[in-house]
């Protein structure tokens, strides 16, 4: 389980996150939703410390960090071991083939042998019917293929939690559907996922839990069903503005 307590991220001119507390259960899919600029990405990036919160407490399984203090490199790396991440932008390593993208983390970070890492990578590609992409470079892939490979790159590290920041928002609907299919499959296998998304239909179908971030605050934290039937005026207003 991941827990943040009284987490704040202050910029000189703005509080991106203001004293928020949320939990993300293991083996569930949590969708983080909210208006543009509300702090969703900041929250997600705070979990694996790509973004350093200004203050608060972060609990990731057995780790318990006081974010008011400067963290050591070792602490940061320990936290990151628990997470895989998929970005909104194209983030596959452009100089490496698909296969190498999948083996880079395991061989360089986990120091797994090249042979083992390759075997694992092939197995993952096979599992998701992407074997024919193995030797291509990222620029030779469609946007949807790139995001699916990016998901596999994260999974190759066998993380406890998969973080996804609007993984489909740069894609056409058709390509988005391919990516969402993969995510549905992962959700069914009880992968622990935290996904920032604007796709409310997907959130409604797949997420076990919704965290609604509104202007740096938590506007809702609870079951998916209840969120979509909420009578809270702010939530109704937000959902009313979204397309399903």
């Amino acid at each position: 389980m991941i827990k943040v307590e009284n987490l704040s991220k202050k910029y000189p001119d703005k509080n991106a996150l203001d004293d928020i507390s949320v939990t993300f259960p293991a083996e569930e899919t949590t969708a983080i939703v909210g208006p543009s600029g509300s702090g969703k990405s900041t929250l997600l990036h705070s979990l694996n410390l790509l973004e350093r919160p200004t203050s608060g407490r972060l609990i990731v399984d057995e780790l318990d960090l006081n974010l008011d203090k400067t963290l050591t490199k070792a602490q940061v790396l320990d936290v990151r071991k628990h997470f895989g991440m998929v970005f909104q932008e194209k983030a596959l390593f452009t100089h490496l083939t698909v296969l190498k993208n999948l083996t880079e983390g395991p061989t360089k970070v986990k120091k797994i042998s090249q042979d083992q890492a390759l075997e694992k990578a092939h197995a993952l590609l096979k599992q998701f019917n992407m074997e024919e992409l193995a030797n291509r470079y990222p620029y030779q892939l469609s946007g949807g293929q790139q995001q699916r490979v990016a998901i596999l790159r994260a999974l190759a590290m066998e993380p406890q939690y998969l973080l996804l920041d609007e993984p489909t928002s740069a894609l056409d609907p058709e390509l988005e559907a391919q990516v969402l299919r993969v995510l549905r499959e992962l959700a069914q296998k009880e992968t622990s996922m935290i996904i920032v998304t604007h796709n409310m239909a997907f959130a409604q179908q797949v997420a076990d839990k919704i965290v609604f971030i509104d202007n740096g605050h938590v506007g809702y934290d609870g079951k998916t069903e209840d969120f979509f039937h909420s009578t809270d005026p702010r939530i109704k207003q937000f959902l009313g503005a979204m397309t399903f």
Binding site: K73, G84, F87, K90, T94, G105, K108, R153, M157
Partner: protein
């Protein structure tokens, strides 16, 4: 014209020997060290201040040294730099470099390093933030992020400017003649002084330089083509 061909047949072998003895080794060795200086300088100049107070102070000093180094070598003529190192320093009893070879390699590599560091710095800065974040999210340390992601991508981007540096360097090694190294150009001067075929000798040596730089340009073309398959 037949005169020129006779002259070429007669002297080309000696010029080529000088090229392989002096021009090409000077170029290769200086470029090798130049790139090492360039990478070190570029990394210092893009490095972000760590949280540690002492490391932060040390980095500031390093950045100052690196900036001064680049500024000095880019804002003074290489000829003057060669004179300072080979004639000036020993004259002031700072006998660091008695050897003309060491002096030449020092100046050429520091000079190449200063220019190339700017190319490499630009290339490093052009690697997108999300590529670094992706590497960090896999658990890579800062060193690993640079070693496995940033520098390989920057290397491809810096091929054209670094090729230009290499070609310039090869031509600039002719300046070694002023510090007593009988490289290819100096040899052509000596021959011209004995056979009085001044214009023909200098055209001949120009052609030899053009031959080598053209080979480098062709190499650059293929390297760019080969690495373009990693393009975005």
């Amino acid at each position: 014209m037949t005169d020129f061909i006779d002259l070429a047949i007669k002297y080309l072998p000696r010029l080529l020997v000088a090229a392989f003895q002096y021009t090409l080794p000077l170029t290769a060795i200086s470029f090798f060290f130049g790139i090492i200086f360039a990478i070190m300088t570029a990394l210092i100049r893009v490095a972000k201040a760590p949280q540690n107070e002492w490391a932060d102070a040390a980095l500031k000093i390093l950045k100052g040294v690196a900036a001064t180094y680049v500024w000095f070598f880019r804002s003074t003529p290489m000829l003057v730099q060669l004179f300072i190192v080979f004639y000036g320093l020993p004259n002031a009893h700072i006998a660091l470099f008695q050897s003309a070879w060491v002096s030449a390699i020092t100046v050429f590599s520091l000079n190449t390093g200063a220019y190339a560091s700017e190319s490499i710095r630009a290339a490093i800065s052009s690697v997108s933030e999300v590529q670094k974040q992706a590497a960090e999210s896999l658990g890579m340390t800062t060193t690993q992020v640079y070693l496995y992601v940033v520098l390989p991508q920057a290397a491809r981007i810096s091929i054209p400017p670094l090729s230009n540096s290499l070609i310039s360097l090869l031509k600039d090694t002719s300046l070694a003649s002023v510090i007593t190294i009988v490289e290819m150009f100096y040899l052509s001067q000596q021959i011209a002084a004995t056979n009085y075929k001044v214009l023909s000798m200098y055209i001949l040596v120009a052609m030899v330089y053009a031959l080598f730089t053209s080979i480098l340009s062709i190499g650059q073309h293929y390297l760019e083509k080969y690495t373009s398959r990693f393009a975005q």
